[in-house]
Point group: C2
Amino acid sequence: MTANPKPTTAARGRPAKGLRSGRDSLLGAATAAFADLGFDSADLRSIAAAAGVSQNLIRVHFGTKAALWDACLDAIIAVSTPATEQIAALSRNASRPVFERLREAIGRAADFYAAHPEARDFITRHTLEAPERSDRLTELLLRPAYEAIRPMLEEAVARGVIHSGHPAIIFALINNAVSPPASFPALIQQIAPEIDGTQAHKRMVETFAATLLREPAATAYGVEH
Amino acid sequence: MTANPKPTTAARGRPAKGLRSGRDSLLGAATAAFADLGFDSADLRSIAAAAGVSQNLIRVHFGTKAALWDACLDAIIAVSTPATEQIAALSRNASRPVFERLREAIGRAADFYAAHPEARDFITRHTLEAPERSDRLTELLLRPAYEAIRPMLEEAVARGVIHSGHPAIIFALINNAVSPPASFPALIQQIAPEIDGTQAHKRMVETFAATLLREPAATAYGVEH
């Protein structure tokens, strides 16, 4: 089973194929291990085995375990940047009602987490890591996401679209609500079997947005805007 | 340092003191280990060491690792029952507006998690456990909590105090919002230094309740009620 550890997802026909696919496999396995066990308990031997490569490759590609964790974070930042930029663009688009733009931003953040469960679990886990890693993730990933959505949150509170609250607290509530763990559908189905599990995440996000955001009366908004 | 492992919190002057304090120490250490590492990765040797007792005592008191996990869950159910019963009593008290009763129930749930961080982390972690444990926790702990608050959630949606949503989804949103991880104050302070970290959890819960619940106009409520 492990005789040919080459991942089937490797890019075809590239000169550095072996190296590249080994590096990517290690990043994937390391992200999963750090997300599940935390930095201290994740071990490099198991990560290499899960990636189907020699443990020696970790040193070749990344150096230390700490540098491997940083590389996982960098990869997550890279995949999350388009979503963050879209949310920042919604913040700048004053031509549309903030109610609509925020609902769209919440959906975009939820779509990101749903499409990247390994990133979601790594980000969720960071709250349990030592400050040198936890602070780094907050600074490089969560702070830019907060700054991207913050103007909309401030406008929403000023207009009564969100009842009240500091934008950082509201950001934390949003981030929390749109990134439920993989087991969330099973939990919901167990306490409410009438809910379709495949729709649980979508319904959670819709319910959250519908309860957080208060649609202003169309005429009142027109006047205000 | 480990010559006298007797916990200082042991009840004084009871005949079974040594046994009792050993069992309680093991439960505390096991709850922390299962919460941090998950069932599979937590190891009995480290749990016994953290409890300051012989590993042999785990077998004496609990039998297997699975039975130890079940005993941790039983202990958490025992400390959570008063909060669940108070919330159920709020559900039955039709003489007060549901807006007030729900706000109080959310505060009560938040107080429980703040007072029992080890229970909070164990419950949060359960979503990553195998179904034989995850389903058990949901059935014995989360389902009773859901049933306790459900009548209020249904009434709140019917009255427009909560905009919309299935009560199980709203329950999940509430449970999520009132149980942020221990690092939450540090995260908030990093992105918003103007917020007092010691107030972060309180402000999160207040903001969540204020955004979720829509206060009906006093007169309208009087008519409806």
